[in-house]
């Protein structure tokens, strides 16, 4: 009897051990290609590790930084941009800002690369002010030939569009950004009438979003990645000019990429830059709105996990905690850009020959000369008339 009991107990213990240890691997969520996106890496970084990055960066070189306005979305309903402000029932004009960072050797790093698809400026009749980024840089006294790196905050068409203008620059992109496109390209649309689609998201004639629900493109995880953009990234990879990275990555001391997974898209990433005014943190569409970061409101959340966006805001608060705090967060679509209301961008000027686009000098490294003309030419946007640049599509 006791021998039988012993066997039963030992077997139970064995099964318990085997079964009990099993979930550990599940919780570990080891990387593989088969996981659904719901368990992709979260990009968490502890406050301590972020502060260590601040300490390390502060021992590194000081950078200069500018933003230029690649183009401008006009008359966007405020509620579509910032849901908490939907009740205002107004519209806003949204710049598409690209960051330019200069290191002590004079090499330039772009954060995002702006629009390329000119058809949109022509055919989407509320856009404005596009100018090729190389021309913009030249016009503000920066040499586009000095661009050695492009950090893609995310790969939507309006932020990664001019990669091919810099064939020798190394592009930095998160692997998660690529894997999510790949995953959703294969997502079935037959059983759910197409809630989630990567292609064919609009009515081909009216341009209305197909559904359900309405605004399917805005509600589907990977609308916004044309083959052209993916091709340009492929060109970088095949040419040995790409760094496909996975989470945090230090490019140089004082220049650190931080993951912001699902802060706007699956593989969004931030760029920490050591400057004389502390750590600047560029955020692309994860930081669509600076006032949103300041007032703790989500923005541009069509493909966003709002918790992750707040966590990404918090990363800026931590990285910039020693100097200037949220004032050092650099937003891509902040409506008050190039005004005193967004102090970081208040030293702005209209780019000469820039089709009404604007630039702002964020900070200079010691000993560097300002690029802002004196006095700065400032054409009020309301009186500046932009033109359609030449492009191949006729009406």
């Amino acid at each position: 009897m006791s021998r039988t009991l012993m066997r039963v107990v030992m077997m139970s213990v064995f099964l318990f051990v085997v079964g009990g240890l099993g979930p550990v691997d599940v919780l570990d969520a080891k990387p593989n290609n088969k996981r659904p996106p719901q368990v992709l890496p979260s990009g968490f970084e502890s406050t301590d590790s972020l502060l260590r990055d601040v300490e390390r960066a502060e021992k590194g070189p000081l950078h200069s930084a500018w933003i230029v306005e690649s183009s401008r979305f006009m008359g966007v309903p405020f509620g579509a941009f910032m849901p908490d402000k939907a009740g205002l029932n107004t519209t806003v004009d949204l710049p598409v800002n690209v960051g330019i960072i200069e290191d002590p050797d004079g090499n330039l790093t772009l954060y995002d690369s702006g629009w390329k698809q000119l058809a949109y400026i022509f055919d989407w009749n509320t856009s404005c002010c596009w100018k090729g980024i190389r021309d913009q840089m030249t016009a503000i006294g920066l040499d586009p030939e000095k661009v050695t790196r492009i950090v893609l905050g995310h790969a939507h068409w309006d932020h990664s569009g001019q990669l091919s203008e810099f064939p020798d620059a190394v592009a930095y992109i998160q692997k998660e950004e690529l894997k999510q496109i790949d995953f959703f390209l294969n997502y079935p649309v037959d059983f759910n009438a197409g809630h989630i689609r990567a292609v064919n998201t609009v009515d081909p004639i009216t341009g209305a979003q197909v559904g359900p629900p309405q605004q399917a493109c805005a509600r589907t995880p990977v609308c916004g990645y044309p083959p052209q953009t993916v091709q340009e990234i492929l060109g970088k990879v095949l040419g040995g000019k790409a760094r496909i990275i996975d989470g945090r990555h230090e490019i140089n001391r004082g220049l650190v990429i931080h993951p912001a997974f699902r802060g706007h898209t699956y593989g969004s990433q931030l760029l920490q830059v050591n400057t004389r005014r502390g750590q600047l943190v560029f955020g692309s569409d994860t930081y669509s709105s600076w006032t949103g970061i300041r007032d703790w409101l989500v923005a541009n959340i069509q493909q966003t996990d709002t918790v992750q966006q707040f966590l990404a805001y918090e990363k800026c608060y931590v990285l910039a905690s020693r100097l200037n705090s949220f004032n050092n967060c650099v937003a891509a679509h902040e409506p008050t850009s190039y005004t005193p209301d967004y102090p970081l961008t208040s030293n702005w000027w209209t780019i000469p020959g820039g089709n009404c686009s604007r630039a702002a000098e964020l900070i200079l490294a010691p000993g560097k000369t300002t690029h802002v003309p004196s006095p700065p030419p400032r054409t009020p946007p309301a009186t500046c008339v932009s033109t359609v640049p030449p492009h191949t599509i006729s009406p």
Binding site: V92, F122, C128, C129, N200
Partner: protein
């Protein structure tokens, strides 16, 4: 009391010790699992003046609607092929998996050419129709070149294949901007 004397045999003591050890192991495992965290792994401006897009005729609408699903198929497999090559380069995709993608893409491009040729474009869209066909042929040529890699093992074929797929993707973006101007809304 006598019950206790009966149960406290050496075997039971051994089992109890084993149980305690197992409990310890489980506690450690659970602790490890629970503490495992993922590694760090306005203003306003006047928009440019531009002519209104002329309304499409019935023939144009029929043509553009017929092209739409073909365009979707081409884009989907083009991006799968492009991402496949990237993920192959990052060791996230095997050569066999890439080969399957590239062969499927080639089949899609060939099918797309057949389907597009079967359409009768209105005269106003004939030029763009031809442009789209040219793009699809570029994709085919690019895929054929890339697929040579699976025969001779030389990855240089991917690089040689790239310019044609890039040119083709530029073309369908341009033509797509005319046929479907709202395909990619602001993001």
């Amino acid at each position: 009391m006598s019950e206790w004397r009966v149960r406290l045999t050496p075997r039971i003591i051994v089992v109890s010790i084993a149980g305690l050890i197992v409990l310890g192991v489980l506690t450690l495992a659970g602790s490890r699992a629970l503490t495992t965290t993922p590694a760090p792994a306005t203003a306003s401006a006047k928009p440019a003046t531009r002519p209104e897009r002329p309304p499409v005729s019935a023939a144009e609408e029929a043509y553009v609607r017929a092209m739409w699903p073909i365009h979707g198929d081409v884009q989907r497999d083009l991006m799968r092929a492009s991402l496949g090559q990237i993920l192959y380069k990052t060791d996230d995709l095997t050569r066999a998996e890439l080969q399957a993608r590239m062969e499927r893409a080639l089949a899609t491009y060939r099918s797309a050419e057949t389907r597009i040729r079967a359409l009768q474009p209105p005269e106003s869209m004939r030029k763009d129709h031809e442009e789209y066909l040219a793009a699809v042929r570029l994709f085919q040529e690019s895929a054929v070149e890339a697929n040579k890699m699976f025969k001779d093992g030389k990855e240089d074929h991917l690089l040689a294949a790239y310019p044609k797929s890039q040119e083709g993707s530029d073309k369908i973006r341009e033509v797509g901007g005319k046929f479907w101007p709202n395909e990619f809304p602001p993001n």
